[in-house]
Assembly symmetry: C2
Homo-oligomer: 395 residues x 2
């Protein structure tokens, strides 16, 4: 990819070694600000900024560019502003890798002001830059056996949290139109706390948060749920968990305590049928967009608006069918009709979500069901085999 791009190296910036652009390369090492240089030839090198992180840097198993190699002290003593230090350090790091000024692919996350000013300075010194994110996205799409094992672990913790939510909802007591847990009214925050504790017991974190969104709140897909919102009988309750161990898992279920409305029941049945359809169609060679078209077709026949029948619709089926998952919650393969540098075809070893949903802000309910799926030779393996029932008592 570097050769095709005409670049001499790929530079990946990071504010933390957990950043999804650098995490695939650094193993167990835990650093703050750091960067990688991947030259056209020669070893990958990890640059870090303080000797206090020498132990962690060594854990990466990579060749290192230490603060001494990078002359950090010199730039600091010279009273350079942070963007100047960044420019000096990148220049020095590239030189240490034997890379003369020329074209560089750059990616990762960085402080925008420093990145802009440092690259402008480096451009004056003879360097030029082009976006390199797609190279990293392609590299990290191919997961090792250890990566897949890690995702299974994240999925298993996530499933434990779903079962605890189901158990809690099933045990809630209805009194005068409200749900109670022992002496406490059941609120979104009780469930969020419970999920966080369960995931923590599995060694999982939620760096991207979670969604526990009842009724009208769930009807806008990315509403995360207001902590003090009480959960009432008959409410739809969208629970979307995307915890991370080293890699992420991603799974959604929708519950309803008490009697669901006719419209909610119908939507649930339609979403479940759409999900089953998608599961059946997953195989190497098919594109995410083809899966999306199938599901849109199904929903259209069931008389729900879709992005194909009603572009920009805010009710019915309002989003894409899925996305790749790995070091980031959203990564390749893309399910869009056209995505830069990705033809969308599933390959063996891809881990994707399938997540049809129906959203009715006017009626105040939503259903989304999402599985995490490993693409194999013969089709998909569901990594989140949980019940789909609305009724938590059926779990």
């Amino acid at each position: 990819m570097l050769e095709e791009s005409g670049c001499r190296a790929l530079v990946i910036l990071a504010e933390s070694s957990r950043d999804p652009f650098i995490a695939p390369f650094v193993g167990a090492a835990r650093l703050h600000r750091c960067f990688l240089i991947l030259p056209l030839e020669g070893p990958i090198r990890l640059g870090y900024f303080t000797p206090m992180e020498r132990g962690e840097a060594a854990l990466s198993g990579l060749e290192l560019l230490s603060p001494e190699d990078l002359d950090i002290e010199r730039w600091s003593r010279a009273g350079q502003a942070p963007w100047q230090v960044l420019a000096s350090v990148l220049h020095q790091g590239l030189q240490r890798c034997g890379i003369a000024p020329g074209a560089i692919a750059i990616s990762g996350l960085g402080p925008a002001g420093q990145v802009e000013a440092a690259c402008r300075q480096l451009t004056e010194d003879g360097w030029s830059f082009q976006p390199g994110a797609l190279m990293v996205e392609r590299l990290r799409r191919a997961k090792s056996e250890a990566d897949i094992a890690d995702m299974r672990l994240a999925a298993s913790g996530s499933m434990a949290a779903f079962r605890r939510v189901a158990e809690t909802l099933a045990g809630a007591v209805e009194m005068e139109g409200e749900l109670w847990l022992w002496t406490e009214k059941l609120k979104v925050e009780n469930l969020k706390r419970m999920v966080a504790e369960t995931l923590a017991a599995y060694g999982l974190e939620q760096p991207e948060g979670l969604i526990i969104a009842p009724a009208e709140e769930g009807a806008v897909p990315h509403n995360v749920g207001t902590p003090d919102r009480a959960i009432r009988p008959g409410d739809s309750l969208v629970v979307d968990l995307f915890p991370r161990h080293r890699l992420f898992s991603d799974c959604t279920r929708t519950f309803c305590v008490g009697e669901p409305s006719e419209a909610l029941s119908q939507a649930h049945a339609a979403v479940l049928a759409a999900l089953e359809l998608a599961h059946q169609e997953v195989r190497p060679g098919i594109t995410g967009w083809q899966l999306q078209e199938s599901v849109c077709d199904y929903f259209a026949k069931a008389r729900y608006p879709t992005p194909l029948s009603h572009p920009g619709t805010l009710h019915g089926y309002v989003h894409g069918l899925g996305h790749g998952v790995g070091f980031a919650v959203h990564e390749l393969p893309s399910f869009r009709q056209e995505a830069e540098g990705d033809d969308g075809r599933l390959v063996v070893g891809d881990v994707i979500t399938l997540e049809p949903g129906l959203y009715e802000p006017g009626q105040g309910f939503a259903v989304r069901l999402e599985d995490l799926v490993l693409v194999g030779e013969e089709g998909g393996e569901n990594l989140t085999p949980l019940p789909y029932d609305l009724d938590p008592a059926a779990w």
Copy 2:
């Protein structure tokens, strides 16, 4: 600050509304990629990229730049690369705020390749950029009463986790030179799991991780501790927790189960004395660097090397005394001798750490004691009033 800089607006990019550069402005809203425009005159506006986030965006209470306002669909339909979309969106957003091409301060976190390419494009269109991080750092240093209350909450959860660690260590059983918890050998990962569960029960997260580093691992300050490392009697054990609610807390204690070595006991006594000295000296008007000098002076008299007596030393006292804490773990005020745009003087309402430590990689031990301190008229208030004892049984 904008006027002084000659800029027409400050733009803050973010990959998540929890990013420390944007979090102070957006309240309870939880968004993925988004940005703020703070014009010289007129309201702050929040730009977001998908109608699925309209509900969360509204929770910010800010004026919004919706995906429709930003013409997101148009750029995507035109097949623009991500960096082009970013350039188009920023151009459109600034125009919507009535800002004509000119100088812009830019800050926050962004994808480095996109930021570089988008700013280069915008420069051709008549915009120019300068780093704006310092403006945000100055703004967020001044904390509201609600911010301080939130930090007290984070500190209280953190203290609960420390007490649980102490209780566990005190209850560990020594057998044949090893420590056991019931039928399991006591390892770093047991304690990390326990801390994560306790913090989760308080609604706290650890986006920056944690340090539980025994003996030789703790002797390099940023080593986070190897999960399967057994904790042995006589080991120093550095526990540094920096969880976040809305804002962060930051606190460190050092434990030793069983008999500490003479050198470890002496180091602990010296670090505790240094911490008490620093606590006494905290007051409005003093600089972090003056506190650092006092502590270096103290350690030098006790015959430990310091950054003043032995620049670059890797044993003895090897780092700065503290830092501001808030929406980021490390923020203003700075404790450095010279920091860009900050004279280092403490002001009422600052929240800082005081964290002297002694590190002996050659002898395989370390001691760090760190309190979170609120600067008041009369001096500092310790927000993490926990025991300092090495012996967990004394807790």
